[in-house]
Every structure is written in C-alpha cells, then in structure tokens.
C-alpha cells in the first residue's frame, strides 16, 4: 500500500500501464518535460522518453484527432486536455469520430483511447477553468464517461479505462487533486466501468453524486448522522456512462427518497437523467421527488463568487431536509 493523493494515483496508473503495455502513449500540452500543469504526468517523460510522453502543439482537436489515428493503428493513447474547459475544440473529433469509428467500420477500426482532463471548480481559477460539462459527453452514444472521487478509484478506474476497447472521457476533479490521501495498493488493479459504489450505508434517503461532490455528500450525511436526525446512504456514481442504475435504484427502493448533487448547471445536467430513471424504476417507492442540488444555469463565476455557485455541505443538508420533510 502507498499513501497517495489523487494526482499521484492517476500518475501511478499511467506509469504502470505504460510499463505494462508499450502501446500506451501519453500525449498533450505540457505533459512531457513539464510534467503537466498539475504535475500529473511528472516523471513519466524522464522514465519513458519523448516518444511515449509526447508534448504536442497547442491544439486540442489535433491532440484528440491524432490520438484517434494512433488508436486505430493499434496504440492506446491517453490524451490530456489541460482543463476540461478547453476540450470543446476537440468535441467534433470526439462526437464525429472517436465515438463512431467502431460503428462506422462495423468493428473494423476501433478507438481504445482515454481523454483525461482536470475538471470542475473550487480552485479560484481563471475563466474556463471551472467547468463541469460532463453531460455533453454522457449524451454521446459511443463514449464512456468516468469521474473518480478518490485516489483508490482514480487508479483502478483509469487503469480500466486505458484497457477498455472504447473511448473513455476521464474527468479528474482538480478541486480534490491534493485534498485527500489514502492507502492505494501498489500493484496495478482495475475497477469495472459501469459500477456505482455505495460509500455510506443508510436507510432514510439516498444521496447520489460523483467526483468532488461525493465528499460534499459524505460530509452532509455525516453531519446529519452526528446530529442524529437522518441516516443517509451515499452513492458514488463513478461512471456516468455506462450508468449503473441498478445500484442506485436498489438503494432508492430501500430508502424511498433521493437527492442528487451535481456541480454542473442544473438544466440538462446528469442529475436530471438520474432523477428520470429513478422515477421510471421506483416511482411507487418514491416518497418525494428526487431532489437536485446543482450549479445554477449561469456561467460559473470567477473566484470571488465561486463559493455561492457550487453545491456545499449546508446546501445539501438543506435539500435533504426538504426531501425528507416533503
């Protein structure tokens, strides 16, 4: 076991997969000599050299488009987008090609590629550095979307993503890059894509989140438990696509109530998909509408007002109470 934060866990997964499979290539802006602006790829350039850790020109569509070609030719590229707010120039390559090359060629050509990106707000960053637009990937058939919430999951999910035969969008909540350390196995391991995790058991209400806000959710649940009011079950979605509705619905069937915490703007966010599927699966057990705690339908504000924008423990507790008292 090693005591790692999320940055180190991601790096470990990259390093071990690169050692394990010579076809794994890391590419992106500043990922090489500089080790990435968050230092995620630090040391990889020194260990594997410039042919396996490739500094690219500044062009996201180029990075993803080239990675698609590499993947078609038998490589397993892991492309880094410097911040998720800069992935949009590559959106066309992701939607029009990465997600559909397998379908278009009837399985003849495939794109086993991972696109990693720091994601979400909470770090007082510049404009475009605080986005959480995972929903625009979840809606694309042929893409998988993974968002880990802690170092252990990050390592196992990224390893699985790299080995996956299809393209995976891997969002890393930069807000918690260094916020938590935990024991992570030294050896390589995978966690299946498509399985949610119950991170706290409870009977009164199911609290669902992913990424950085699993922590917010757990804290809210802990507070309510300490106060002795409600016993809340917390679920970490982990992979938004494929989405594990079974685990989530089973919990809600048990508790009868659900709240989803999402940092993204409210309208059209993934919380809405969860709520809808829960209604389809469990309307008879639902004693209240599925609650949503989300970002607003606004541009994420710069640092000074950022805290007003993001879901926080108090807001989650407030929604839990509202849902319980419905």
């Amino acid at each position: 076991m090693a005591n790692l934060n999320l940055v180190e866990a991601v790096r470990e997964a990259l390093r071990q997969e690169m050692e394990h499979d010579p076809k794994v290539i890391v590419l992106g802006e500043d990922v090489g000599r500089n080790g990435g602006v968050f230092r995620v790829t630090e040391g990889l350039f020194q260990q594997f050299g410039p042919d396996r850790v490739v500094d690219t020109p500044l062009a996201e569509s180029g990075i993803v488009g080239m990675a698609i070609g590499m993947a078609i030719a038998g490589y397993r590229p892991v492309a880094e987008i410097q911040f998720s707010g800069f992935v949009y120039p590559a959106y066309d390559q992701l939607v029009s090609h990465a997600s559909r090359m397998r379908n278009r060629s009837r399985g003849g050509y495939t794109v086993p590629m991972v696109v990693r990106m720091p994601y979400g707000g909470g770090i007082r960053a510049l404009e475009h550095h605080s986005e959480s637009m995972e929903a625009v990937f979840v809606h694309v058939p042929g893409l998988k979307v993974v968002i880990p919430s802690d170092p252990y999951d990050a390592k196992g999910l990224l390893t699985a993503a790299i080995r996956d035969p299809d393209p995976v969008i891997f969002c890393e909540p930069d807000r918690i890059y260094r916020a938590v350390r935990m024991e992570v196995p030294e050896e390589s391991y995978t966690l299946p894509l498509g399985e949610a995790k119950v991170v706290r058991e409870g009977f009164d209400l199911t609290l669902i989140s992913w990424g950085a806000h699993v922590r917010t959710a757990k804290q809210a649940a802990d507070h309510l438990a300490e106060e002795g009011v409600y016993d809340v079950e917390v679920i970490d979605v982990r992979t938004l696509s494929p989405f594990d509705i079974n685990t989530v619905a089973a919990s809600v069937v048990k508790t009868g109530r659900a709240v989803v915490v999402q940092e993204a703007p409210r309208t059209g966010g993934f919380a809405s998909e969860i709520a809808t599927q829960l209604m389809e699966r469990a309307i008879l057990q639902l004693e209240a509408p599925v609650g949503r705690v989300t970002g607003f339908d606004t541009i994420p504000p710069l640092g000074r007002l950022e805290d007003y924008y993001h879901p926080d423990v108090r807001g989650v507790m407030r929604q839990i109470r509202a849902t319980m008292e419905f």
């Binding site: 290539i25 042919d51 490739v54 690219t56 020109p57 062009a59 569509s61 180029g62 993803v64 488009g65 080239m66 990675a67 698609i68 070609g69 590499m70 993947a71 078609i72 030719a73 038998g74 490589y75 590229p77 120039p89 066309d92 390559q93 029009s96 090609h97 090359m101 397998r102 379908n103 278009r104 060629s105 009837r106 399985g107 003849g108 050509y109 495939t110 058939p141 042929g142 998988k144 035969p165 299809d166 498509g194 696509s241 494929p242 989405f243 509705i245 079974n246």
Partner: protein, 362 residues
C-alpha cells in the same frame, strides 16, 4: 540590419503529359506498359461505376453519393503510388481508390445505399471508411503515420481531401502536427475548384493550395491533377521521402469536378457551361488514352475490350450488391461498444419486442 529577407519559398508545378497526351520523357515516371494499362483500366472502370451509380441513384436503389467524374487521374494516380502495407485515409470522393485498395466495390454500393455494413472492409485493407465531416480525417492520418513511425514499420499514409477541406481548422492542425512530428503522411488535395457552390477563389485568397505547406515548414507542390503520370510521379516521390523518414508533403492535384457536387446538387445554378467545357477538353481519361494510342498501347479493339470488361465488372458488383440480405434491426446496436452496455441490451430488447408486438398487431 534594417529590412532583411528572412526566408524564401517557391512552389513548383509538375506536368508530365499535356492535354494531347504527349509526355515529357525526362519526367515520365517509371511505369511498365502493364502498369499503364492497369491505370487505364482502373480509370475506365471507375468511370463506368460512377455512371452506373448515378443510374442506381436516379432509380432510388442507392442514396445520395459523390461522383468522381473528371477526378480519376488525381485520386487513382496517387493511390497507385502506395504499397500494400501503406494506409489510405480518404474523404468521400475517391471511388477509384476503393478499386485499387481491394475493397469489394459492392461494399461501396451498399454503403451509399444506406447500409453501414458496406464499411466492413476486408481485414488488413488499411483503408479507413469514408469520412463525411469535411476536413476532419486528415488528423487520423497523422496519428496513423505517427504510429507507423513509432512502430518502425516504414509504411506511409496517404490522405485525400478537397479544396474546401483546406479551410477547416482540422486541416491546419493535421498539417502542423504532421510536420512537427515528421509523420510519414502525404496530404493530397483534390483541388477540383469547387466546394459545392463555392469556387476556389472564395475558399481562400492563396493563389495555390500547395503554398499552404509553407505555413508548416513542409514541402508543397502543385501537380496537373488531370495528368495521371504527373500525379503518380509526384506522389511516388513524396511516398519515398516519407518512407525514408523525411516527413510529410502537401500535394495539390489541380483538377476539376466535372459532375454536380452530389446527386442532390445542380451545378448549373452556380457555374457556367463554358467553364465545364474548358475542363472537359482536359478530361484525364481521354488524355491517357491519347498517350496510349500514340504509344501503340491502345487500339480500338483494346479500348472496347477494356470497356466491356469494366461493364461486366460493374454489372457483377451491382448484382452482388443487390443480392445482399437486408440488414437486421439489431445491427443498430451491434457496434456501439465492444460489449453492449446494459442500457443498450435493454433498448435492443425493447425494439425487438415492439417489432414482435407490431407483427402481432398491437
């Protein structure tokens, strides 16, 4: 000190065979009569297939497609410069390339007929499927080229696209990445003077496509795209350079789209009969035939024989296409992921049971 000339560039144009079919012996590429006959037959067959496809489309047996009439020398000459292990990353106007790369042409009909199974190419064909979003596929060529180099395979990649495609940002990123990584990629622009209704002069203010290579520190060269010898020669040289680790090349094949943009288009809305006539005189197939006739490689009998053989092949492909069994609805779900997700399994189930229900009348 003051104003100095930093760097200079010159863009050459290569022509080997004039419209009368006379060649410049010094530039004539090293092709055996056999090979020249093969090129000719491929051009003839491509044109017959193109004609037949138009009929099929008018009859509603296939859908909208992009004709290649007038551009046979450009894409066939370039594709012919590839070895079997090389890759081809096409756009959507390269029917002749399909023939050379060994893709059963009934598959092409099937694809334009609205059945994605036409894109299930034989293993090892190293040709990517048709790419509809203009300008986007050249990046895939760069990635494949990067991989060939990394793999030390000595295979190269030819990617073909139109003049309109050069305006897309992805063209720029592909050219730049290829040059920075010295990827073994040949960028072949079929500059057919039009992107649907937009003429070359409104697509770019650059006098030539070839000079766009300057922006990337890459060699750029224009070639008479209706001169199959010139296209072949220039592509072959670029292929050899790429194979020897000397990096990418941009080739502009200066040609003309003699047809409408697609079967949904009507080019008379935006261009003149004179322009078309000008280019019809420069027809690439007739030009090669003139050369071959003068060289004693083609007489009326041979011409008829090639035509008949092409007709027969095309008829066979159409037959093979029409004999394809219809697609099953499950096909929709088959290749979204390597393993269908639970949601996809459920949705397929939903579709099939609704079809059953419909069969049962509810």
């Amino acid at each position: 000190m003051p104003v100095t000339n930093l760097v200079s560039f010159t863009i050459p144009r290569v022509e080997v065979m004039d419209p009368a079919g006379t060649v410049d012996a010094a530039l004539m590429p090293d092709l055996t009569p056999e090979q020249i006959r093969e090129l000719y037959a491929t051009m003839v067959t491509t044109r017959k297939l193109d004609d037949r496809m138009l009929k099929l489309q008018r009859q509603g047996r296939i859908g909208t497609f992009a004709r290649v009439l007038g551009q046979e020398a450009a894409h066939i000459g370039a594709t012919y410069a590839l070895a079997k292990e090389d890759w081809l990353v096409p756009a959507f106007r390269e029917t002749g390339s399909f023939l050379l790369r060994g893709i059963p042409p009934e598959k092409l009909l099937q694809y334009w007929g609205g059945d994605e199974r036409g894109h299930d190419f034989p293993a090892g064909s190293r040709m990517l499927p048709i790419s509809v979003p203009v300008g986007t596929h050249m990046l895939h060529a760069v990635g494949i080229g990067w991989a060939m180099k990394h793999n030390k395979e000595r295979a190269v990649v030819l990617t073909i696209f139109g003049d309109g495609a050069t305006s897309e940002g992805d063209f720029h990123e592909a050219m730049n990445f290829a040059a920075v990584f010295q990827a073994p990629v040949i960028f072949l622009c079929q500059n057919n003077q039009w992107a649907i209704s937009v003429p070359y002069e409104r697509q770019t203010a650059a006098a030539t496509v070839a000079q766009k290579a300057v922006a990337y520190g890459m060699p750029g060269i224009q070639v008479d795209g209706n001169d199959i010898f010139a296209v072949y020669r220039v592509t072959k040289e670029a292929v050899e350079r790429a194979r020897n680790g000397e990096g990418p090349t941009l080739i502009e094949a200066h040609t003309y789209r003699m047809s409408d943009h697609t079967t949904s288009d009507d080019a008379r809305r935006y261009r003149t009969a004179e322009e078309l006539a000008f280019w019809q005189e420069r027809d690439p197939l007739e030009r090669l035939a003139r050369y071959m006739r003068a060289a004693g490689m083609l007489d009326e009998t041979a011409e008829a024989a090639v035509a008949a053989e092409a007709e027969a092949k095309v008829a066979g492909w159409v037959e093979a296409f029409e004999a394809k069994p219809p697609s099953e609805p499950e096909e929709i779900f088959r290749h979204v992921f390597a393993e269908p997700t639970p949601a996809l399994v459920a949705q397929q189930e939903e579709l099939l049971s609704s079809l059953n229900a419909a069969d049962e009348g509810r």
